[in-house]
Amino acid sequence: MSAPYDLNDDSVVVVIGSGAGGGTLGTELALKGIDTVVLEAGGRHEIEDFSNDEWGMFGQISWLDMRTTSGNWRVARDFPNLPAWIVKAVGGSTVHWAGASLRFQEHEFKDLSVYGEVAGANLLDWPIALSDLEPYYDKAEDRMGVTRTHDIPGLPGNNNFKVMKAGADKLGYRRCSTGRMAINSRPRHDRAACQQIGFCFQGCKSAAKWSTLYAEIPKGEATGKLEVRAQAQVLRIEHDDTGKVTGVVYADAEGNQQRQKARIVCVAGNSIESPRLLLNSASSLFPDGLANSSGQVGKNYMRHMTGSVYAIFDRPVNMYRGTTMAGIIEDEAGYDPSRGFVGGYEMETLSLGLPFMAAFLDPGAWGREFTSAMEGYDRMAGMWLVGEDMPQESNAVALHPTERDQYGLPVPNVHFDDHPNDIAMRDHAYRQGAAIYDAVGAVRTFPTPPYPSTHNLGTNRMSERSRDGVVNRWGQAHDVANLFVSDGSQFTTGGAENPTLTIVALALRQADYIAEQMQSGVL
């Protein structure tokens, strides 16, 4: 039973966005008995609405509002208006995510101390350590049902994994498994086990994969303390003369503007929309954007070093069968500057269906070189490379000077240049990925360029000192006490690991802090 709250109820906590960060935070606050309204720009599409159709699902729930790109990254050339693949729907990108759930390594909270200054990089230590997050990692893993934690068995390996594993063994890699996945390997928490459907990126029809849409939000709603208002796109956050936020203005399904009052506002729109919203909320009191006295809102945009390696063999693989990403090699994830770069990377199995493969294998390519590769589709194995990229101040989400969206607001431009460290890491990862497949007899390998960003991070970063970042160790804005950032934009640095487990752990930790601050009357 969902609780409807009045627009003028200024006792509620308003959470903007219902994905990994917002959906988890909203649910956790409600479970603690706190009145919470989650405003979500997209619609509510339940499992029955999912289809095993790559372009169909992409069109149905992706964030397709106008965005622009600049910089030397290849995405700007291949997908100039699609810098990122983010979901606009209740559940956010956890509807499409693959489920890989890894903890950060201890040193990845202390990049500046461990790596030292890296020219051109805006490195900083997090204001928290692994030990601060460990209890919340534990709680998050339990909640999400992460395999290989809490006595949950690993998923069985599919064809794509078996090829990776054979190559990893030949190369002497020792940390290759079906990984830690927020996908039920057996029924758990009222959700079924994975049926090896193979369309994890299109929304899991069996609910085996954790998503805030069906694994969190309904639990929050059942308390009567959570209202999730879909098709409510927040346009700006408002504040009073003292600089405290008082509520938000959003556009409802009909495009009418509504004002929801709030005691506390938490921003979790993912790392492009969250800084855009703060920048679009500029006022005479906050002329450079809300909570932006540091000038760091929108800066230090990170997207992980990514790339893929696909390989063709002389015999069938049928990689598309089964779980998309249940396979990982972790041996390259550590810190080892002798490889010619700082930070590390993971290699994870990945398969795309034929329609997406045509679009992403080598965007823009044509002719027989390309089509002969496509004809090897059923003999292909594939992996995704994902590693830590360097935060750079000039890599930024900024308001476009002229382009406006359907509400008349400046659209975001996403500027990204690869750092030399990112390029060195990608080259290394391409070589190792190809070597893995060559070791099992690949006849042809493809170093496939990055897709539109699925891991968007860092644009409202956490810092000890207010001049270095936007939020403090709790995700609370340095400048505005009752304003929080609750998504991946808080990340000070990106780590080598897929970010969602860390986003969820931070949200659970933030919920404890908010509840405690409310209880003690500070907020």
């Binding site: 289809s51 095993n52 159709d53 790559e54 372009w55 069985p156 390996g157 599919n158 064809n159 078996k162 090829v163 594993k165 054979a166 994975c194 049926q195 090896q196 459907i197 193979g198 369309f199 029809k205 069996s206 015999r315 069938p316 693989v317 049928n318 598309y320 069968r321 089964g322 779980t323 269906g353 034929l354 329609p355 493969m357 045509a358 679009a359 823009g364 044509w366 002719g367 027989r368 390309f370 089509t371 496509m374 004809e375 589709y377 059923d378 003999r379 099992v440």
Partner: protein, 182 residues
């Protein structure tokens, strides 16, 4: 391990959206005013707003951009047939296509003394396409084909791709781990 049967499953005559045909290197189509018919008469599309010869050229370009000898002409025809309707509703599209094809034919006439669609070797046609690949016609056609050709469920078995699986219970009992050679 279970592999996908690539043989063409259906064979019936009809206007596109159905039908089947043998494969061909140079697209051999019978072109009459307002109608393009496949070589064995197994399929046909009507052309109302573009010149019929223009549609023939688009079909040839489609095959030359993404040549798959396993795919019959009808799949390429299906992927570009929609431009006729677009040309009917948007004069700018019609102009872009007609003038783009005229330019391409001009290049073909200059090099080979015949229209693009009648140049005999794929390599010669591809060399002509390389000269126009930055132009509006080529870019529109190529990016449209990525979806128009490869998102057609009828072509998937030809690549060994099985498409939707949830309805069949996923691959848990249907070969998700049946690889037998690693």
């Amino acid at each position: 391990m279970r592999v996908v049967d690539r043989r063409t499953q259906v064979s019936r005559r009809g206007f596109l959206k159905g039908g089947s045909a043998a494969t061909a290197g140079l697209v051999v189509l019978s072109v009459s005013s307002g109608m393009i018919t496949g070589p064995t008469g197994a399929w046909a599309i009507s052309v109302v707003n573009l010149q019929t010869a223009t549609m023939q050229t688009l079909i040839q370009m489609a095959r030359d951009i993404y040549p798959h000898d396993r795919l019959a002409d009808r799949f390429y025809a299906a992927a570009v047939a929609g431009y006729d309707e677009q040309a009917g509703s948007d004069p700018a599209v019609k102009e872009m296509i007609e003038s783009g094809v005229a330019d391409l034919d001009g290049l073909a006439e200059a090099r080979h003394a015949r229209r693009y669609a009648e140049v005999g070797w794929e390599a010669e046609r591809v060399a002509l396409l390389r000269e126009i690949e930055e132009g509006a016609l080529f870019r529109t056609l190529r990016s449209g084909l990525v979806v128009g050709l490869y998102n057609n469920p009828e072509v998937w078995p030809k690549f060994g791709y099985e498409g939707a699986s949830a309805e069949q219970g996923g691959y848990l009992e249907r070969g998700f781990d049946d690889i037998d050679w690693v």
